[in-house]
Amino acid sequence: MSEPIPPISVVSHKNIQIVEFTNNKILDEANIEDIRKTLDSLIDEAERPSLLLDFVTVDHLSSAALGMLINTNNRVKSKNGQLRLANIKPQIMEVFVITKLNKLFKILPTREEALGSFL
C-alpha cells in the first residue's frame, strides 16, 4: 500500500510557515480533519505562529472547511500569532464575502503581498 499523500505542503520563509493545500477541493470531512490536525500541530510547535495559507490550488470549499479555517484563526490568535490568506480565486472569495469572513481574516491578493504584510 502506498503512503497517504499529506493534506498540505509546508515551506518555511524566514519565520513564516507557508501552507498549500494538496487537494483542489476542501470538502470532504476526513480531508478537512486531516488538514485541521496538521495545521494545529504547526501552531502548537511555534511560540508565536506566523502562518500563510496559499489558496492557489483551491477550487472548492465547504462550510466545514470555513469552520476549520476559523479554528486555525482562533488558535493562532490565542498564541498572539499572525495568519494570512492569499491567492484566493474569485469564486472562493465570493464564499468569504457571503459569509462576511473577509472581515475576520486578513486576505491578501498574492503570496508576495501576504509575506510582506507580516509584522
Binding site: L27, S62, S63, A64, G67, I70, I98, T99, L101
Partner: protein
Amino acid sequence: MQPVKLKFDFPSDLAQTRAVQQQIMQAVHDHGYADDAIFGIKLSLEEALVNAVKHGNKLDPKKSVHVRAEVGAQQVEITIEDEGPGFDRSKVPDPTADENLTKCSGRGLLLMEAYMTEVEYSNKGRRLRLLKKKN
C-alpha cells in the same frame, strides 16, 4: 437534451454522499450550465447532504436520506429529505452577525440560500428543496 431524473435512498453515511453528488453534478455538467452555476450547485448540494446525514439523521445508520433530482435544460431541482427531528429555519442564528463570526459552524444554510434561485424547507425542516434556474 432530455431532463435527467435521479433517485437515491441511502443510510446516514457521509461516504455515500460522494456518489450521489457525482451523479447529479455529472448531469448538471452534461446540460451545459455555466461554471458559476456549477460551483453554486455543487456547494449547495454538499451542504445539504452533510446537513441531512449529520445534523438531521445525526449519523444514525438506521435512518436514511432520500434524494430526488431533476436536471433539465433550464433548471436543476433537488429535494433532500432526512428522517431526523426537523428544525426551524427562523431559529438558526445569523452566522454573519459580529458575535457569530468566530464560530466554527452554522454557515451551510446561508451559502445554499445565496447560491440557489430558491430554497424551500418543508415537513418541519426535514425536507429541503433546492432550485437553480439557468438564467
